[in-house]
């Protein structure tokens, strides 16, 4: 028997979807009655592949788990190995790691800004922001050799030291970004229509947010201060001065403003890191990567990525290869159980902006 509601496929081949996934919407009129997330279009079986590779061989593939922002994955795996082994990391490497993480957060926010406003029909914003994001990618290219995939952070430190004059170039880029932010404010965040389209849309209830396991900007957009960087400071975050912005409201606009303010914080953090960065080696003596036995043990490590808390649960059985690495991306909850619930009752027009504002990133759901 034919169902009453219309089935609307949002994805996988759809301009409104973030990445390659599908949200099957049952709509009555333009209101979503039921939403079902379907994932698996990007399943590459990373966790299985890591079991086939040595710990160090896993680094090149973990960065592919989340394309817009690969560094938290490398950071997580590196810290998981370090925690199991009890390995010390040189101070300078920690600073460089934080710099890379914050740069990648900034890049991810630029990309998000494009997606968010592009989904709302403001096509100038993605053109600007994705273009500006390229300046960060240039920095990464200089630092790591790769625009997108860096494979830079690894167990024991980072792969290589900063090139000459890199610090100045980073500072220059940061200055440029700071000068651009007011323009983005004018174009996006202060735009009357943008506000009209985002305020009161896709609201997450504060109580529910805690119980559903919402993390990152969506949670901070509910007014709850929850950030791994202050809760469980890793690397040198406890030595930096920054605040974690929270905005009340729980709607798309609140989440957008959280990210907008975090961009300022990231810029200031990068400046602080460059300012305080000590000298010294960037990695300690490590074993031969192909012969690197990690002792038996397990570790759950967390990093705050642009979309929220990124957790890795790594188990080693004392052999060359990981026994199990479980990747828990923030989108795992945001993209499936949370999305399916808050889309009910939403307008078709708002589905794509809601997804963008939650930072749903399918590759980290299905790995």
């Amino acid at each position: 028997m034919r169902e009453k509601e219309t089935t609307l496929y949002l994805g996988p081949q759809h301009p409104g979807i973030t990445g390659n996934m599908m949200v099957k919407l049952k709509v009555a009129g333009d209101t979503v009655v039921k939403a079902e997330t379907h994932v698996g279009y990007l399943h590459r079986a990373f966790e299985k592949l890591m079991e086939q590779r040595t710990w160090m061989q896993s680094f090149p593939i973990v960065c592919r788990i989340c394309v817009p922002e690969p560094d938290p994955n490398e950071e997580n795996l590196a810290r998981a190995v370090e925690e199991i082994e009890g390995r010390e990391v040189p101070e300078r490497a920690k600073y460089i790691r934080v710099m890379a993480l914050e740069l990648s957060r900034l890049a991810a926010y630029m990309l998000w800004m494009g997606g968010q406003s592009g989904g709302l029909g403001l096509y100038t914003a993605p053109q600007w922001s994705v273009g500006d994001r390229d300046y960060i990618l240039d920095l990464f290219e200089e630092l790591t050799g790769g625009r997108i995939y860096h494979m830079y952070i690894w167990a024991g430190g980072v792969r290589r030291d900063l090139p000459d004059g890199f610090k100045e170039r980073v500072l220059k880029t940061m200055d440029y970004f700071e000068s651009r932010l007011p323009e983005y404010d004018k174009l996006i965040f202060d735009n009357a229509i943008f506000k009209k389209r985002t305020i009161g849309i896709g609201v997450i209830d504060k109580e529910k947010a805690l119980e559903w396991g919402v993390v990152g900007p969506p949670l901070r957009g509910c007014g709850i201060k929850h950030d791994v960087r202050i809760d469980e400071p890793y690397e040198i975050y406890d030595k930096l001065e920054f605040e974690v912005p929270t905005v009340e409201g729980g709607d798309i606009y609140a989440r957008a403003m959280v990210r907008r303010r975090e961009m300022e914080q990231s810029i200031s953090m990068i400046r602080q890191v460059l300012d305080k960065m000590p000298g010294g080696p960037v990695y300690n003596k490590v074993p031969n990567p192909l012969n690197w036995y990690v002792p038996k043990g397990d570790a759950y490590v967390k990093t705050e990525s642009a979309r929220g808390e990124f957790g890795y649960y790594a188990v080693s059985d004392g052999s060359l290869k990981p026994r199990r690495v479980h990747v828990r991306g923030p989108a795992y909850v945001h993209g499936v159980s949370l999305l399916e619930r808050i889309l009910v009752g939403a307008n078709i027009s708002d589905v794509s902006p809601i997804m963008n504002s939650l930072g749903v990133c399918p590759p980290e759901i299905e790995r």
């Binding site: 399943h43 299985k48 709850i224 809760d231 012969n291 957790g311 649960y313 909850v333 619930r341």
Partner: protein, 193 residues
């Protein structure tokens, strides 16, 4: 030892309530609890309702093929003191079945769906154990240790041979450091044939 005060208090409370639980404070903000499989549900319920561990961060599974066991790990987080509990248990690998915790946490549904698909664990009480990531999968659940992904890939997908003059990275690297090619490296050279 002063800084692990909260963690120790939590550990004490758990061991007081669950006598058979094996509680260790692993490091700052990490408490590991090993439990019998039938105690997991009471424990989660207790932690959620009485100890304010309301955030279920993830549910994970490790396949211990040698011991014929699956290890299930439930990670809970307390928003107030930001301590994380990892509750672990072992279940039988032959006929894996466990209780669903969807009535405690909505997002548990997703984790359980994935584990059913990847490990074949049947979570009783979960109403939506439908296909999640894979589509029309016919073999054994792929994340089990006895599933050979390399063989599967070679059988199913066309493997394009590599270039003849391609240099093996492993050989180059080991030559440089003067060590022998380890077993793992030899495995991988198979592919260049």
């Amino acid at each position: 030892m002063e800084e692990l005060k909260i963690e120790k208090e939590i550990a004490e409370e758990i061991s007081k309530t669950f006598h058979s639980a094996e509680v260790t404070v692993k490091r700052e903000k990490r408490v590991v609890v090993k439990l019998r499989d039938d105690l997991i549900t009471p424990f989660l319920s207790y932690a959620k309702n009485n100890m304010n561990f309301i955030h279920l961060a993830h549910i994970s599974c490790v396949d211990w093929l040698e011991d014929n066991k699956f290890e299930l790990i439930y990670s809970l987080l307390n928003y107030d003191n930001k301590v994380m509990i990892l509750a672990k248990t072992y279940i039988d690998r032959e006929n894996p079945e466990f209780v669903s915790h969807t009535n405690y946490w909505d997002q548990a549904e997703t984790y359980e769906r994935e584990m059913r698909e990847m490990y074949g664990i049947n979570f009783k009480g979960n109403k939506r154990l439908t296909e999640f990531i894979l589509e029309d999968w016919q073999g054994i659940p792929p994340m089990r240790r006895d599933f050979d992904t390399v063989k599967f890939s070679q059988d199913t997908f066309y493997n394009r041979p590599g270039r003849e003059n391609a240099q093996d990275v492993r050989t180059t690297v080991t030559k440089k450091s003067g060590e022998e090619i380890p077993e793992i490296g030899k495995d991988y050279t198979v592919r260049n044939l």
